[in-house]
Point group: C2
Amino acid sequence: MNTDELAVWRSLLDTTTELRRRLATQLADDSQLSPGDYAVLLALSEADGRRRSSELAASMDWERSRLSHHLGRMEKRGLIAREDCATDNRGAEVLMTEAGAAAFNAATLPHMRAIKRHFADALTPEQFDALSDALRSINQHLG
Amino acid sequence: MNTDELAVWRSLLDTTTELRRRLATQLADDSQLSPGDYAVLLALSEADGRRRSSELAASMDWERSRLSHHLGRMEKRGLIAREDCATDNRGAEVLMTEAGAAAFNAATLPHMRAIKRHFADALTPEQFDALSDALRSINQHLG
DNA sequence: ACAAGGTAATTGATACGTCAATAGCGAGCT
DNA sequence: AGCTCGCTATTGACGTATCAATTACCTTGT
């Protein structure tokens, strides 16, 4: 491993950390949602606002325990609700509340704009394609 | 914002999350250190094993409170120690213990190898340069 | 010298993530 | 039916990150 490789690795870590930080701040300012909250609501909205907890976890690639803890916090704030599953007495169905949907709707547009502003606008089309390509390679290598 | 931009953004988040996860697991397996522990010990080793707490925080770009909490945990495990500062009675000096140095030494080589294996080896030289370039642009845009 | 304001470090509260353990239900086998 | 095994979801414990508040000390201006 040479110096360049380490420097780019550090840059990748630092840059993504800072991007996450800014997006999180902006999200919280606009909608009082954390990135986790937003991810949950997004996954729910892609399932018409209602989904089995384990399916939700799978669709988000989250551990079930993590989701369970997070849902507990979101439930307390009235963003989601939980109901017993009709077809499987072990199961729970998660559903978005009105307040959850409202927060999600309020968050989405500014969030997309922030991604564009902080990330997409920083790159030329060529840089963007090259980044996409590099990420694809890393993912392939990981898989 | 178009679909591609969002997809690459998600890929950037997911990929770096997974890379961090693997590196963290590997670090813990080799040395019982968390990435935070390693970052602290690295910053300390670059200061000959001893440094004022606030300077350490500045060099790592960590909030002081974060470092303070982390040092408390590391002190309990015997990885670092704290002493009163001779020239400023408010201050604290942080120093690496024998055990801390041993853990750091045990961690470093495998950690570098893991970065090479999981990250650097995934990219061609061209991809690597392009990634470096894209990150530079994003950083510039952020700054 | 001394009051006022700034700085160093810590602390407490709260949110988040992971792991291991648990409770309860379903499904298949005998 | 009864048993075992696997799955669903939750929980508790612990480490980690951020924010606000706090303590103790330095520094500057008068």
